[in-house]
């Protein structure tokens, strides 16, 4: 909560700083619509934030100013000098109170009412008197008196310069590396150079990280906001948050904060209905709001989905026509999607009533403006009566993405690795290039794909013969497969991608620019954009024809990662299982609870390996997931990625190695990923239905404190006599002489008696510290019960 307040204060003050010139300008020309809009947005934002931070005084002030400004926007009132002055005084007061909030002082509030009254029509007379003491320029003066701040705010510009400096350093390092190689290595220099490289890599990593933050920072404010809003509005909403661990540029997070707040507020205020209304509509009285973030290619997608009433597109159109924003003829030709997009036009809202939360038709235009300013997109999808989905797609600036470099017509391009499915050379014989009605098609192992000839597509001159081409099979996020024909494939590289200039982005086929080690700028291609602009048609229509073939093709030949294992052997693993290849500090690895584990992303993941990683500072790992569990596998180094046919000589016994295959004439062991996952999951998985063990003496402290933990670890569920599920017990344990009441409980269950005296063993009685005997007896009894059942 404290953090939120600090955020609010900083944010308000920053906006005031930028707004101060606008305010002065507005004073000189009160009819200036854009100035009016930006001042209006400011008070609207302040009002909204005050609402959930519980700052009634500021809320009252901003609400009053907002009302007046809304009237001006709707042209119900003309902004005259008296009104402008009154609004300015209110903004000054907001700034004073904000400063006072931070320093903990108090500002006398006896004349707040006077300020608010001055906003009313004809209230200007009183203001003239007040104006003497607080001139508009006081806004600037006040903001200068800042109190103590508890954190350092760095200009992003400075971070950018640091990042650029490090990038320069990397380039210089690469240059040096080339020269060292050319001049023939001298071991001493090489070792020093190696150290330098490690330092630079670490520095680059940490500087990159200074800019990244988990989106959690953004999401953490939501539960409180939702709670307060629902309480105020009398609605019931459950909020689900997902994907808080997605990392995003800090600056981006700040830019999305306001839009997301607006979206969530709108969803609760307008989207989700009152409980009785929901019941009438046949929905559960509690509305659902789901906010999630995920990474999709080079974008972060943040979605807010509610199950409320959705947007009535026709009402929106009616309103737009009434406002004169749209003509009826034009409206008739609009698609549903275009109609929905009207919500982003300034000054339009479908809400019938203006509430204190939202409904003035601001918000959505601000949302779009903010998101588009950072090169993002807002998308809307609504089903009337069923809900609304708003997605913000924002680019990942300054991200390092694995990419493949290719060339066409002498120019190099990068393609995001995430979109590439496989590479096939036409000359290898497994791909046949043909034509179909003038369009190129390629047949790769029986699977026909449309082809985009990159050189032709980009209007470059390529001298490359068709038979020399390489097909890059692409599966863009949210699109369909196609093959991109390139002249040559060069390398896998990790590239720092930056957004390209707007003129370049306007082509729709580039995702960003990057500067590889050779210091020739390169463009990152956008596979989805290329498909769209080359008019590749989706494969949905003929999916049935090709699907079985595809399945076989995938089965026979899959991209495979060749790597050198810790014991020096060359091994292979299917690439699609590998989520990431990365380096972790050795300090993250420890031998705890019986096996090697890695603490990673605040989780503990089993570390598998064929040996103990040699004592280094950093381990290289493959992170894999089977959808439920993650494991990491320590390796020595990555060798290559190849398309490999998975027919191999089976291994003699099940184990880490599934078999051995020939790759380029060398025998390579294949990792048995099934075994790997089953091995990692062994501890996690107990019997499907753990047997229930009944403890007859619920009050015995020894049973609760000593016996119960042992039973739980051994995989039993535990209950006590008298509990509801006591009758379902598979086995019972009685302590000491508790025989009498036992028989009455359940005769079908075998009972083990524990004695405190080692001498009293025999029959069903076991000494209570004889662990083996006890577990054996439990096991036997549980099996007996199961057979009986």
């Amino acid at each position: 909560m404290d953090d939120l307040l600090v955020d609010f204060i900083t944010e308000t003050r920053e906006t005031l700083e930028t707004l101060s010139s606008e305010i002065v300008a507005w004073e000189s020309s009160p009819s200036d619509r854009t100035r009016l809009d930006s001042i209006f947005r400011f008070v609207h934002t302040v009002k909204g934030s005050c609402g959930f931070l519980n700052l009634p005084r500021l809320e009252k002030l901003s609400h009053a100013a907002e009302d007046v400004l809304a009237d001006c926007r709707a042209e119900r009132r003309k902004p005259d000098a008296a009104l402008v002055t009154a609004v300015l005084l209110v903004i000054d007061r907001i700034s004073e109170v904000t400063n006072a909030l931070e320093s903990g002082e108090s500002v006398p509030d006896h004349d707040d009412a006077v300020l608010i009254a001055a906003l009313a029509p004809g209230g200007g007379v009183e203001v003239v008197a007040v104006e003497e003491e607080v001139a508009p320029s006081a806004v600037v003066a006040n903001t200068a008196q800042k109190g103590m701040s508890r954190s350092i705010r760095l200009p992003v510009d400075l971070l950018d310069r640091m990042m650029a400096g490090v990038s320069d350093m990397v380039l210089a390092r690469n240059d040096l590396s080339r020269r060292l190689r050319d001049s023939g290595g001298e071991p001493i220099i090489d070792a020093a150079f190696e150290r330098l490289s490690v330092c630079i890599a670490e520095m680059r990593d940490s500087i990159t990280r200074t800019r990244m933050a988990r989106i959690e920072n953004l999401f953490s404010a939501l539960p409180r906001m939702v709670r307060d809003l629902t309480a105020e509005l009398g609605k019931q909403v459950t909020l689900e948050i997902d994907g808080g661990d997605v990392e995003l540029d800090r600056e981006m997070i700040e830019m999305i904060r306001d839009p997301l707040t607006h979206i969530v507020r709108n969803a609760i205020d307008h989207g989700i209905e009152m409980p009785d209304e929901r019941l009438k509509a046949g929905k559960s009285p509690t509305g659902r709001l789901r906010v999630s973030a995920r990474q999709a290619g080079n974008q972060i997608v943040i979605e807010a989905i509610d199950d409320g009433r959705g947007i009535n597109a026709d009402k929106l159109v009616e309103k737009a026509i009434a406002n004169g924003m749209l003509t009826e003829e034009k409206a008739a030709t609009m698609s549903l999607q275009n109609k929905l997009h009207l919500i982003f036009a300034a000054g339009l809202s479908t809400a019938k009533a203006v509430t204190s939360v939202s409904g003035r038709g601001v918000g959505m235009d601000v949302v779009r403006a903010n998101v588009e300013r950072i090169g993002g997109l807002v998308d809307i999808d609504s089903k009337l009566g069923q809900g609304l989905r708003l997605s913000l797609k924002v680019p990942l600036t300054l991200t390092i993405i694995p990419a493949l470099t290719v060339s066409a017509g002498g120019t190099h391009f990068a393609i995001p690795r995430s979109a590439i499915e496989e590479l096939v050379r036409v000359s290898s014989g497994s791909a046949h290039l043909g034509e179909l009605g003038g369009a190129k098609m390629v047949n790769i192992r029986g699977r026909r794909l449309p082809v985009v000839m990159l050189a032709n597509f980009l209007k470059l001159n390529s001298t490359c013969a068709d038979s020399e081409l390489t097909m890059v099979v692409l599966k863009p996020a949210g699109g369909d497969h196609y093959a991109l024909a390139v002249d040559a494939v060069h390398d896998h590289e990790e590239l720092v991608v930056k957004p390209a200039a707007p003129a370049l982005m306007a082509t729709g086929i580039y995702a960003g620019t990057t500067l590889p080690d050779n210091s020739h700028p390169m463009l990152l291609l956008d596979p989805a954009g290329i498909a769209q602009s080359a008019h590749i048609i989706g494969e949905a229509g003929n999916i049935e024809d090709i699907e079985p073939e595809t399945a076989i093709a995938v089965d026979e030949c899959a991209p495979t990662l060749l790597f050198r294992d810790l014991d020096g052997a060359e091994r292979a693993i299917r690439l699609d299982l590998v989520e990431r290849i990365e380096e972790i500090p050795a300090s993250a690895v420890s031998h705890i609870a019986g096996r090697m584990r890695v603490s990673y992303d605040e989780r503990i993941i089993p570390l598998m390996s064929c040996g103990v990683p040699s004592q280094q500072d950093r381990y290289r790992i493959l992170r894999m997931t089977d959808g439920l569990h993650s494991i990491v596998y320590a390796i020595s180094e990555v060798i290559d990625i190849v398309a490999m046919d998975f027919t191999c000589e089976r291994a003699l016994a099940p184990g880490l190695i599934a078999g051995v295959a020939l790759i380029d004439g060398r025998p390579v062991e294949l990792i048995d990923t099934f075994w790997l996952f089953s091995e990692a999951a062994r501890e996690a998985v107990g019997p499907a239905h753990p047997p229930l063990c009944l403890l007859t003496d619920a009050d015995d402290p020894w049973s609760r404190q000593v016996l119960l933990p042992l039973l739980r670890t051994a995989g039993y569920r535990v209950t006590f006599s008298g509990a509801e599920d006591a009758d379902d017990a598979d086995v019972a344990i009685a302590i000491g002489d508790g025989l009498a009441d036992l028989n009455s409980e359940s005769a079908a269950v075998r009972t083990i008696r524990l004695s405190t005296d080692p001498e009293q063993q025999g029959g069903d009685t076991i000494y209570r510290y004889d662990r083996d005997a006890l577990l054996d007896a439990l096991n036997a009894s549980a099996k007996h019960k199961r057979r009986a059942a």
Partner: protein
């Protein structure tokens, strides 16, 4: 009104760029072409570790594009967080005019009118003040907006 101006030559005309917007002047040689992009974008150029979008100022004001052979001088500006290298025919001098910018009364050709902020007078010569942002955005984008 004593702002500084950088005098450069674009499409055969001497024009003034507000010096406050100019980061530096560099000589560039190799420009990586960008296919399928608007004609005023000449390509990409690496200024140390930054990737600059190279703008053909001649094309941007509607004149014949630069003949791209050999070295050329470029003015580095930053617009909306993106770095641009604006190719110019010649870089002359930085001057401080005696008077401020005045609206030009001449009827400019559409290409020039789009980028002109006004005129300043230097040594009895009237020079157009050109907005680097307008040069960078090019004609197509303005038409679309």
């Amino acid at each position: 009104m004593s702002a500084l101006y950088l005098i450069v030559t674009i499409a055969g005309q001497r024009v003034a760029l507000p010096a406050a917007t100019v980061e530096s002047v560099v000589e560039i040689d190799e420009v990586e072409p960008v296919p399928l992009v608007a004609s005023h974008v000449a390509g990409l150029f690496a200024l140390r570790s930054r990737v600059m979008t190279v703008i053909d100022s001649n094309a941007s004001v509607g004149a014949a594009p630069f003949d791209r052979s050999g070295h050329a001088e470029a003015v580095i500006v930053n617009c909306d967080g993106h770095g641009y290298a604006i190719l110019v025919e010649n870089v002359d001098d930085v001057i401080e005019p005696l008077a401020g910018v005045v609206q030009s009364r001449a009827v400019l050709s559409p290409g020039w009118a789009r980028v002109a902020l006004g005129t300043i007078e230097i040594d009895g010569e009237a020079l157009l003040v050109v907005d680097p942002e307008a040069l960078v955005s090019g004609q197509q984008l303005v038409a679309a907006a």
